[in-house]
Symmetry: C2
Subunit: 461 residues, 2 copies
């Protein structure tokens, strides 16, 4: 048992709230400081519920504190993607094997649930309406604005975790230290959230158990189901150019565009114009940085050290996996926090970089490739390979979504498999071609080579 610490967590979002439970379980006293008011009280007056994709890595972290099933009860399984073409025709593509789903969960609902579970713990205290203004890392002295009193408060943290998201102020303080590696990179796309409300009888107006995509090459819309029968749609759209946020200025522009691009759902979006012109355009940023820690004083976690774009549905899952990894390390902890922080950031950085890159790549797949029959045929062939060689071949999407293999391993292996698929697909014109002897022979040969390469890579790890 290591010394009990007074731990400060900046940010009571998903990662901060879950982390508090893990740290309290290890015997520490935890104080969380959150800029916003208590969302459980403000939820009531009707913030629109935004949803996120929760998958195996996320569930694993929830399992660790025994709330996996509880969350699964209020999550909606999505069995695959349903693609909507310009004529409103649908194509279904399963995410994984039979029984492998990802889940749509309400961000606010999950966050509130984590707060409800942690707040009764006598070792966990939430402080809302506290905005971090300044952090002196040398003394771990934080200056906060108390938005209830309007006063400035200060505190000295014994140990500080920065779980304060993509625009982290804790990271901001680290950025001012010497030789800090930092990058922020924006896509030339923004996003806007829109709603397909529930039908009058409360039912879902599109297939409930799927993630819907309207892939349009240069842009796309997606929709995820909510528990209340509605869907939250997200339009990913260029900032500038012929078809872009910049060029949709009037209700007429908007309607003409939606009728052309998303004709099958316009009728399902009664508040389209009102929502479109009042909701903000969100930015899509990737943040990478290193190190993630400052001496034995502070550690970043989640989006604060690896904000990713949302196209792999892994943002929250990666943040939760940080907690799983940290907790494993705490299992054999010798009391040296600086050593722990260094080991954690070194272990986790390659995986954070990998999921950041995978997420950007998946945007191209989602908005463009999923509309291509060749791409869908390829996905079917990959699934057949996976069935035939379950130990030797897991499709990239499945490695990321349904396993706990390191993201960096998934990225590398995905590249090898991509090379093989390019060779194999030259011989494939229909699903049946998979059984052709030359395909089987080629695949066998390629798999042997791949195993050899993987063995070689294994040595490098």
């Amino acid at each position: 048992m290591t010394e009990r610490k007074n731990i400060t967590i900046m940010g009571a979002g998903l990662v901060g709230s879950l982390l508090s439970l893990y740290l309290a379980k290890r015997g520490h006293k935890v104080d969380l400081y959150e800029r916003r008011p208590d969302m459980r009280k403000t939820l009531l007056d009707g913030g629109r519920s935004i949803n996120l994709a929760l998958s195996d890595r996320g569930f694993r972290a929830l399992r660790g504190i025994g709330i996996e099933e509880e969350v699964r009860q209020v999550a909606i399984p999505m069995h695959g993607r349903i693609m909507h073409d310009e004529e409103g025709r649908l194509t279904f593509q399963p995410y994984g094997k039979e029984g492998q789903f990802i889940y749509s969960v309400s961000r606010a609902g999950l966050n509130a649930a984590l707060m409800d579970i942690s707040e009764p713990n006598p070792d966990i205290t939430y402080h809302f309406n506290r905005q971090l203004l300044d952090l002196d890392l040398h003394q771990n002295k934080a200056t906060l604005r108390n938005h209830e009193t309007g006063e400035t408060e200060s505190l000295e943290a014994e140990l500080l975790f920065g779980a304060d998201g993509a625009f982290s102020m804790v990271r901001n303080a680290m950025q001012k230290t010497e030789r800090y590696n930092y990058s922020q990179s924006y896509l030339e796309y923004g996003y806007k959230e829109l709603t397909i409300p529930a039908a009058e009888d409360g039912s879902w107006q599109l297939e409930k158990n799927a993630l819907h995509i309207w892939p349009r090459g240069n842009y796309m819309m997606i929709a995820l189901p909510n528990l209340d029968g509605s869907f939250t749609c997200t339009l990913f759209f260029p900032y500038e150019g012929p078809l872009s946020f910049e060029n949709i200025k009037t209700d007429d522009d908007l309607l003409a565009f939606f009728l052309q691009a998303f004709p099958d759902v316009v009728a399902l979006m009664p508040d389209l114009a009102q929502e479109y012109f009042s909701n903000p355009v969100g930015t899509l940023v990737t943040v990478k940085c290193f190190p993630w820690s400052y001496k034995d004083k502070a550690l970043l976690i989640g989006d604060a050290c690896h904000a990713v774009v949302p196209f792999y549905g892994q943002g929250m899952n990666a943040g939760f996996e940080d907690i799983t990894v940290l907790d494993q390390m705490l299992e054999n902890f010798d009391g040296d926090w600086e050593k722990l922080f260094h080991a954690f950031e070194r272990r986790r950085k390659p995986d954070a970089d990998a999921i950041a890159d995978l997420a950007v790549l998946n945007f191209i797949e989602m908005r463009d490739k999923v509309a291509d029959p060749r791409f869908l045929l390829r996905k079917k062939i990959e699934s057949k390979i996976n069935q035939q060689y379950p130990d030797k071949w897991i499709p990239l999407y499945s490695m990321v979504t349904f396993t706990d293999l390191p993201y960096s391993y998934a990225l590398e292996t995905g590249r090898l498999q991509d090379e093989i698929m390019q060779k194999v697909m030259k011989h494939i014109h229909s699903v049946e071609d998979y059984e052709k002897p030359e395909v089987q022979k080629l695949l066998e040969k390629q798999l042997i080579q791949k195993e050899r390469l993987k063995g070689y890579q294994g040595q490098r790890v």
Copy 2:
């Protein structure tokens, strides 16, 4: 002739001073603001002269204002690298063909010369001791500290150029605008400057017309000649680890290390310990950002938008080439500064990224590969290919250093050539092997393929 503008340049370093001449030549009025005092006055009281590598791209920009030959007079040609091994044995590797040199120039001397040439121009005014504290880009309103009076001044710039270096305050203001792409990335190496003074008779104690390298795998020292007979040495050394800045703490540590690593020059460095322990450790940063401009108000140039590590000797040259490119664009300028800035940053960004990446890669070559006989053999073979096929093959180093081919083209072509060299070198064990029929045949075939690939790439540009 476009409208005469009042132009403000932040930073009167090499790029700012040269830029002022080009802009004045185009009919504009230029004011330069520089944080430091006038270096021509402070030079007198003995700052050590640091030298830089000046090569074709830099000379081209100097030629544009007619001072190429003037600068060449006070620059020292370096014909190649002289490698010093642990036993003090020397190996020479020429930089290019007969007559192709790079030049060692004094940074302060060149900067002072540019000031001397520009200051008499009635359209150019220097303001020293003015530190930019804050910049409101919307109004182009700058707040400066006047270090002579201690007062704060403010000015509104009609048009602003940020030539204020790697830690640019103008860029800092741009970083606060929406969706700004930015990265700073440090090597885990620092550098320290040391001196080999002139001999008593004023002569150089090492071969004057060369860049000296002590490549030691994980670290290295280099030395460039100065006009006064001295050499400025730079030790590139890890911050941490068994052999590192961290672990050299005493005069004894230092001497033991230098005697083992650089035995042939210890006797030439009488002030080694004094210099080592009083000179600061410099950091090695790569800065990338985008965009480089803000509306029609401000444009970054030089290190301010593309700081690179020094290992390709191209930092100043790339900044000077910015000016050449900008001046070409001003030739056909229609008066729309915003359009000009956008065209400039789009044209120049891929080349800035390329030289940044090349510079990092060249560190590995310099500290490690140049000590490898296979590497030197390969350089000789490449030079033979270049002689035989002067139109089809220019070694990467020569493209970067002795041509005005875009850096991005050089990087890409260098990669293709690298693949070919790997194949060719399998058949080469001595320079004579180059004439072997199978080598000649292989090379011919590879060159045809390369031309085809280059044609294809050409289409993409």
